[in-house]
Symmetry: C2
Subunit: 335 residues, 2 copies
């Protein structure tokens, strides 16, 4: 049986151009004894993947040239040789960008609840939800009445961060691009304020939204947006550093105001993290997140693009601000 | 009785010039009921005071124009109206730059051990020792076998940081300017390596000194020295941010490579602090520091300038690299 996949044809400079990706048709063999065969249903595109496209040392290994891109996927089992997995089971894991693929069963996680949109396992019930949960609660530690600011607030991680912060009794301010997104934050997600970084008066909007300063800044973007937030840090502010998407496609090192004087003045704590640091606590978080979603205390927005061929564009849109909510690609009609 | 004092005549731009300071002769009255009168013996000059000379909000209030500079002082009681203090007691506290001065007794701390050089109460047995102790042990948390790098390593704080880190079993690398200082680190203080930031091959020297990367970077200087250290951060590195002396006299905001990508890549923790954050634990630290000094496990170098008139120059030297060790000024012949 033949199937399609997308491989990394060359390493990108800046935002990945079309020729960075190559479509291939490959044969899928019968799965081995320790493998299951799955049909990919939804494939996640996430900002962290940009780092893996470069050939530099980081917390995750780089993608290999001429090998498939990979990332979080929800799939349906088509063939199983392994106890515990049967045909039509729904599984998630880090799998290649390939329509039909054999994977080692130990790399697949079976999903029990399948009467919800399955792409939620790529967002709030998957790694982005875990990222928001642990970064905010373990590092940010928002207290009732404190002010929490989150950037990329309408995105997959940011939207969950803000809603959890509200559940903890904080005054929550989200930064996003354009009034459609900022209105979504306040009208749909219950944020106290939405600040538009594309507006000419961004600095004034932000200052007005944080009259009591900033106690927690959940950092997703870096760059000049972050510089503006840093001006408002309260004493003992906490800054979980989850991402710095504004710089991911830079071809040169980006310069900004040095952070040390700001950190001293506010005696702030800034901590970088990746979700894997908190793997021990994933089950707890999963349970709590699922409950919040079920009780409609956490709402999510997912932007579903259709078609395997949409993957490169969906990925690029993460960096242009053209996406809204968690971006996934539906790669099968059979969902 | 008349005495001399030094007041802030105008706010400095860059390194404080002579006309920033004004010498005045004032009358000292009899101390009030809740006051003691002291003769200043040693006056401390410290980098953090530069921030107080500006009229900007910070963790300590700015010095007032036409009012005396103030800082840590060791003095001898000349007149006391207060129970618990008698003539010739030795006291420390934050007092004005004034030869004879009345101070509220509640602001003075009586020193019991007086058979040691009294200026040690302005360094290792005073706030700089406390700063090193808490910043390193509470935030840096060096583990046996880890690599600790400290900048401004021959200075009042840095030299104590490095020696405590050695006591905790770490591989300790100090950064200082010039071979006299770097030799002092290795030959006198027992550091594993001294790296000269003034050398052309500073980057190579540093890389060679940290073959296993950097687990703790105790930040005193900021600027390009810090940029170089950041290239070597290990996963879960800790960066206590104590000072950023390289930028204290800048008249414009200093730019450098943005820190967020570095912090994410290493999942590092960066935390600003001032010693007052740890006031609850001062007595414990005092006891331990005094014991280490007594057992000669912590050595200190003090640069003692003589004469009240030397204060402005001694202060300026903190920023030019001309001082070596803790800088104090002996303002009385009567020590």
């Amino acid at each position: 049986m033949n199937t399609e996949r997308i491989v990394l044809a060359k390493r990108p400079e800046g935002i990945p151009s079309d020729d960075v990706f190559r479509y291939e048709t490959v044969e899928v063999e019968e799965p081995k004894q320790d493998e299951i065969q799955i049909e990919s249903l939804y494939i996640s595109v996430d900002p962290y993947m940009r780092g893996r496209m470069d050939d530099s040392e980081s917390y995750v290994a780089p993608f290999q040239l001429d090998e498939p891109m990979n990332g979080h996927v929800v799939g349906r089992v088509t063939v199983s040789n392994v106890d515990g997995f049967t045909k039509d089971d729904i599984v998630t894991g880090t799998f290649p960008w390939q329509k039909i693929v054999n994977i080692k069963a130990k790399h697949a996680i079976k999903v029990s609840q399948t009467d919800i949109p399955l792409y939620l396992y790529l967002s709030v019930l998957g790694m982005t939800g875990q990222t928001a949960y642990h970064g905010l609660l373990k590092i940010g530690q928002p207290q009732e009445g404190e002010t929490v600011v989150v950037s990329a607030a309408s995105g997959a991680v940011g939207s969950v961060v803000g809603q959890i912060a509200k559940l903890k009794g904080a005054h929550v301010v989200g930064i996003a691009g354009g009034s459609e997104k900022t209105n979504y934050l306040t009208e749909e997600l219950g944020f106290d304020a939405g600040v538009d970084y594309q507006a000419n008066d961004f600095a004034e909007q932000l200052a007005k939204a944080v009259p009591n300063g900033v106690d927690v800044y959940f950092e997703n973007v870096g760059g000049t947006i972050a510089d503006e937030v840093m001006k408002h840090l309260n004493q003992f502010a906490r800054i979980p550093v989850c991402g710095a998407i504004s710089g991911y496609n830079n071809t040169e090192i980006e310069y900004g105001p040095r952070i040390q004087p700001i950190i001293i003045k506010s005696q702030a704590l800034m901590q970088g993290f990746i979700v894997a640091n908190y793997a021990d606590d994933f089950p707890n978080a999963s349970k709590e997140l699922a409950q919040w979603v079920q009780e409609d205390k956490i709402k999510t927005k997912t932007s579903v693009k259709k078609g395997f061929d949409s993957l490169p564009n969906a990925f690029r849109n993460l960096f242009t601000g053209d996406n809204f909510g968690k971006q996934v690609v539906q790669v099968s009609d059979n969902v």
